[in-house]
């Protein structure tokens, strides 16, 4: 199963943390820092796979993709296919791209809970839920629409996601 999804920028600031196995907040920060330490030390011309036994326990690996100013990191155990995980990062990035029209770090910073909504439609409790970015987008849009329509009654100024989505 997938153990964690971490999105952080190239300075090591977390932009999205999602752990599918419970980790206390301090531990989450520590893990993020260790992952960053590993990734920042890797040159560009090497593989995208890292053995993560030392950080996440035996048998774990991580796949990362370095795009613009962001690292997308999936941590998973031996039950997942590394190459498929790489594709799954691609699915996530593609979906974000379609959702935010050329996604950049700022979009993710200010819409982090929309990020969570998207992620929840792709990965569910550590398992792959959906791999078609089209369908993910449809589900996310449906959720936003629902939020807007119900919040228009009483929560117009306060709705968080209503304000986002550019």
């Amino acid at each position: 199963m997938i153990r964690a999804v971490i999105v952080m920028n190239t300075q090591g600031k977390p932009r999205l943390l999602k752990f599918y196995e419970f980790q206390p907040p301090e531990k989450q920060q520590e893990l993020t820092r260790s992952v960053f330490a590993v990734l920042s030390g890797r040159p560009d011309n090497v593989s995208n796979f890292v053995e993560a036994d030392a950080i996440f326990g035996p048998g774990t690996r991580l796949v990362y993709k370095h795009l613009a100013t962001l690292y997308f990191v999936f941590v998973f155990d031996s039950c997942e296919n590394e190459l498929a995980m790489l594709d799954l990062i691609q699915v996530l990035v593609e979906t974000l791209d379609r959702c935010f029209k050329n996604v950049c770090e700022l979009d993710i910073v200010f819409n982090f809970n929309k990020m969570h909504t998207i992620l929840d439609e792709i990965i569910f409790g550590g398992q792959v839920l959906e791999t078609s970015s089209e369908r993910v987008l449809k589900a996310v849009e449906e959720i936003s629409r629902l939020e807007k329509s119900s919040s228009s009654v009483s929560f117009v100024p306060k709705s968080v996601s209503g304000r986002f989505g550019r």
Binding site: F124, S151, V160
Partner: protein, 863 residues
């Protein structure tokens, strides 16, 4: 409304945090926000609850405590509106700290929402349940999830399927309830539902053998059909990743097939065709295609596939190895590592390609490939592979050399069939990367040379040649120094020249030059320099013309600021000046080192032991002595150990320890095996040796003597007082005399391993000679603390033993503290038999129980 609690908008807060220049500023902003949120919570502010939780999620991501928001999440979940519920569930998943009471409170809301009419709300509840479900919740809510598996909406269905995975992981007993709905999911057409259903089936197989059997019987055919459909179906853009139709579905099906086919020949055979089709038809120019191939290979390796199919699979991996994409090469190496166990012949065929990967530009690929090559080495290919690797060693990266050297050395050691080849290869490695070679490797080389009389001349000459070009390689230098010390005359006299050798002339003063360079060179460490001193001493007797010069060199070091060197220089100087009559016998060539015993020792001593030897070398205070075979031993044991070494048929006579000692010292004592004159002679010589140079004697505390003796306890007379007494203990009369004269007994190291050291000190009451009070001190030499430490001891029947309680059962790491325990031994045959004891230490380290035991034979005499 409190103006503070309304706070700022989420967007403004994020902006404010981003504007912070320092961590302190950021903390201040967060503290202010948290204070506002807390006061809003205490005022039960409903309007902004939703926004506050959103803020808290952001704050949580930055690593600040947000536990106070948990109850707010529950309130949001309980409210009616969709946006509130959504943020509430999101917050629940992120902020929750697994506290049971919170989970219990949320169970009811979840139950309601799972039964909600709005499918999106059901979706939210399922998602939360799938992420945070505990065993209790799983039992409570399983019926709801089970029911949702049968709804018509595919979005709910797939989420329910994945949620079921979490439930059966938490409560495996529930697996059978999910079996038939899961099996029926495999008949679905909707892609997402199908993937989720297959994952659920895979997990069911994992937790229950019955489920595996059931699915194998009923679903194998269906799975094969799915795979056929998806791989034959025409272009479906919706699930296309890089031009390949739905790779994830492929992968999940293949994975489930692996679970079902494992260990079942019939099912495996049934799958053969489709697997062959996928393995041969899938396009491999895209990552997604390779992902499918990779999974397919793993399935072929996992099930009872035909050998033809396995070869096909391994060939796919072989193709992967020459792929330009680093990732593909990396996974191929990983898989080949597993494939070796299944079909090593097929993997061997790709040896050349794998060897190329050792030279890859990507460090992680190099490391993998090297491990794989190591697994591939066998008797037939060892020579060419070693050559390739050594050639590469010359040009490899600095940080890769350590790994590479270690692997090459162990290949050479493991697969050498002839001594000359072994020595040649080791020499190459030492001259290319001698600084990376572990101590045990060059120790083994010395043992091997010592055991090859016809190659000693050749070795020392080759070493001399290698030294001329590679004098900066530490291990090489040490081997050179040792061999010149032992076989210097073979170098000068060209003894035993092999046909392949080119003739060379080395003069006696050339060899002294080499040793002097090693002794004074800046790169030489203390071990090398100590060894050089000994080698010089040896040469001074072999090459009389150079003895004056050697004497001068040694004299210079009498003033060395390094105690060890100074002491040696002074001792050796005395030997040269005052004891010329025994010098030649004292510096005789070493007896042949026992190879088989060394190998056994080496095999027994784990990596830890090597570390221990290393630390013993580097720290002056370390107590381990370097024996000729390079294995660290407690100070009291070396002579006994040497006896062990030579106990199998070696030229060294081994009847008693004093014999052996005489032999080592090369002293020609007549009639040494019978008691009488011999022991006194031995004592005299020992005393004589120890008393050389009175000012030194005061310096020689047992500790400094025993510490860091470099490489030659035999050539250097360094037994501590303990050892002298110990040796003489062979004769009971002598022992009892010692006992009567001195009521003080020296402490001994009763037991020492790489991880544990036990010291015994003794006390006796003059009026009760039979009773000995033993004070045991335990010290942890490893870097992990020991807990639940228990010490046990057993004694022969004529001894009674009483153990007092230990001072503690916790032993801190790295010798930072000790446990002490007092033992009272009553020896009923005092004066006739000496104490003997077997000890056993049981303790836990890193939650693993460990046991160490040993026998103590080195009690001081007279106890």
């Amino acid at each position: 409304m409190n103006p503070f609690s309304s706070g700022t908008r989420l967007r403004d807060m994020i902006r404010a945090i981003r504007a912070c220049k320092t961590a302190a500023e950021e903390r201040a902003v967060v503290r202010k926000e948290c204070a506002a949120i807390r006061s809003a919570i205490s005022e039960n502010d409903q309007d902004y609850r939703h926004r506050n939780i959103a803020k808290l999620m952001f704050i949580h991501m930055l690593g600040y405590p947000t536990h106070f928001g948990q109850m707010e999440c529950l309130k949001l979940i309980a409210s009616a509106g969709f946006p509130e519920k959504r943020i509430g569930y999101l917050g629940l998943m992120l902020l929750l700290d697994e506290r049971q009471e919170v989970l219990m409170l949320v169970t009811n809301s979840l139950k309601q929402d799972l039964n909600h009419t709005n499918q999106y709300i059901v979706g939210l509840a399922l998602c939360a349940l799938g992420n945070i479900c505990s065993a209790e919740m799983a039992s409570d809510l399983a019926p709801e999830v089970e029911r949702l598996l049968l709804t018509r909406d595919p979005n709910i269905k797939k989420k329910a399927a994945l949620c079921s995975i979490r439930i059966i992981r938490k409560v495996p007993d529930l697996a059978e309830n999910f079996l038939s709905p899961a099996a029926s999911l495999l008949k679905e057409k909707h892609h997402g539902v199908l993937i989720a259903g297959i994952q659920l089936c895979t997990d069911l197989c994992k937790v229950s053998a019955d489920a595996n059997k059931h699915l194998r019987k009923n679903c194998t055919e269906g799975l094969i059909r799915i795979l056929k459909d998806v791989s034959n179906s025409s272009y479906a853009p919706e699930y296309d990743i890089g031009g390949i139709t739905d790779p994830f579905l492929h992968i999940r099906v293949l994975r489930l097939m692996r679970m079902l086919g494992q260990g079942d020949a019939d099912t495996s055979e049934y799958m053969n065709d489709i697997l062959a089709q996928i393995a041969s038809k899938t396009e491999s120019n895209k990552n997604a295609g390779n992902a499918i191939l990779y999974e397919c290979v793993e399935t072929i390796m996992g099930i009872e596939a035909t050998s033809g199919l396995r070869v096909l699979a391994i060939n796919i991996l072989g193709r992967f190895l020459s792929n330009r994409d680093n990732n593909i090469r990396y996974v191929a190496l990983n898989m080949l590592m597993k494939a070796i166990a299944v079909d090593s012949q097929a993997v061997q065929r790709h040896r050349t390609t794998i060897l190329e990967c050792v030279k890859d530009s990507d460090a992680s690929i190099r490391k993998r490939a090297l491990e794989l090559v190591f697994l591939l080495v066998n008797d037939t290919n060892a020579k060419p592979l070693t050559k390739e690797l050594i050639d590469y060693l010359e040009v490899s990266d600095q940080d890769f050399k350590g790994d590479l050297t270690a692997k090459i050395c162990s290949i050479i050691e493991k697969f050498s069939q002839e001594k000359k080849w072994y020595i040649d290869q080791m020499l190459k490695v030492l001259s290319l990367a001698g600084s990376y070679v572990k101590d045990d490797v060059w120790h083994a080389l010395i043992v091997a040379i010592s055991n090859a009389p016809d190659l000693q001349g050749y070795s020392v000459r080759s070493l001399y040649k290698a030294f001329q070009t590679s004098f900066e390689q530490v291990s090489l230098v040490r081997v050179v120094v040792w061999c010149i010390g032992e076989y210097g005359e073979m170098l000068v006299g060209n003894v035993g020249v092999l046909e392949v050798e080119e003739p060379m002339t080395v003069t006696e003063s050339d060899t002294v030059d080499v040793l002097e360079a090693c002794l004074t060179g800046h790169s030489s460490d203390i071990t090398t320099r100590s060894m050089s001193l000994i080698a010089l001493l040896k040469l001074s007797s072999r090459f009389p013309p150079t003895s004056e010069r050697i004497k001068e060199i040694i004299t210079v070091h009498k003033g060395s600021i390094v105690l060890e060197l100074q002491q040696r220089a002074i001792e050796f100087n005395s030997i040269i000046q005052r004891h010329d009559n025994i010098k030649s016998s004292l510096v005789e060539r070493m007896p042949v080192l026992d190879e088989s015993a060394y190998m056994v020792k080496k095999a027994n001593s784990s990596q830890e032991n090597i570390v221990a030897v290393k630390s013993g070398q580097t720290s002056l205070a370390g107590t381990s002595i370097m024996l000729p075979n390079g294995v660290g031993k407690p100070p009291a044991a070396p002579l006994v150990d040497l006896l062990d070494l030579s106990s199998d048929d070696t030229p060294v006579p081994t009847s008693t320890s004093k014999d052996f000692l005489h032999d080592l010292l090369g002293i020609d004592l007549t009639n040494s095996s019978s008691s009488g004159i011999a022991p006194s002679g031995g004592t005299d010589i020992l005393m004589d040796l120890l008393s050389i140079g009175t000012p030194v004697q005061s310096d020689i505390s047992p500790k400094t003597v025993s510490s860091n003796q470099g490489f030659a306890p035999t050539t250097k007379p360094t037994p501590t007082t303990v050892q002298v007494v110990d040796l003489l203990d062979v004769l009971p009369s002598n022992g009892s005399v010692a006992g009567d004269q001195s009521p003080l007994y020296p402490s001994i190291t009763a037991f020492q391993s790489s991880t544990l050291k036990v010291m015994f000190s003794f006390k006796k009451h003059p009026e009760k000679p039979q009773v000995t009070e033993i004070h045991a001190t335990f010290m942890n030499l490893s870097s992990d603390a020991y807990t639940d430490f228990v010490f046990q001891a057993a004694v022969p029947k004529f001894i009674q033993l009483h153990l007092d309680p230990a001072s503690s059962n916790h032993l801190p790491a790295n010798g930072n503290g000790t446990i002490t325990q007092t033992l009272t031994a009553t020896n009923s045959q005092h004066g006739q038999k000496s104490l003997a004891m077997r000890i056993r230490m049981v303790y836990e380290v890193n939650n693993q129980e460990k046991l160490e035991q040993g026998q103590i034979n080195n009690f001081p005499p007279g106890l």
